[in-house]
Symmetry: C2
Subunit: 84 residues, 2 copies
């Protein structure tokens, strides 16, 4: 695997797992007051379109990274609606 592919995979891993600390933070504190609902809705819509883009191009790294990011952010969105 060449350097640029490893760099891209590392970047994709970071921008995907980044949402786990946010998810656990809201889960533990039961508070999401400062998290923007509009951000979550727009971001989930965008990540969903990235997923469609990846499926269309049959690009597995784009599909996996965006599918996992979408799942994490849908859970955060659910927490936001539940805990406000």
């Amino acid at each position: 695997m060449d350097f640029i592919t490893i760099l891209g995979l590392f970047a994709a891993t970071l921008t995907t797992i980044a949402f786990l600390p946010q998810l656990f933070k809201i889960w533990h504190s039961k508070s999401a007051k400062d998290v923007s609902l509009e951000m979550l809705i727009i971001f989930c819509s965008g990540v969903f379109l990235w997923l469609v883009y990846g499926i269309y191009l049959q690009a597995l790294p784009i599909i996996i990274a965006n599918l996992v990011t979408l799942i994490f952010n849908l859970i955060i969105l659910w927490f936001k609606i539940k805990y406000r």
Copy 2:
């Protein structure tokens, strides 16, 4: 411009502007208690690597989308450190 390029640009626009409502929310409320510091640090690192990836590939859409996303998230990170 073909459909898949328009889809990708639309996805990139959404996942970039999504952070503006979060930025303005913290700016107005002066509170960022529920926003995860770890998320912001990991996410900014990942977006920075995406930016390097884009520069390496000389891919302007990747460069622009990640540069703007990085700027928005560095401001949110600054607000998080400032307002806690």
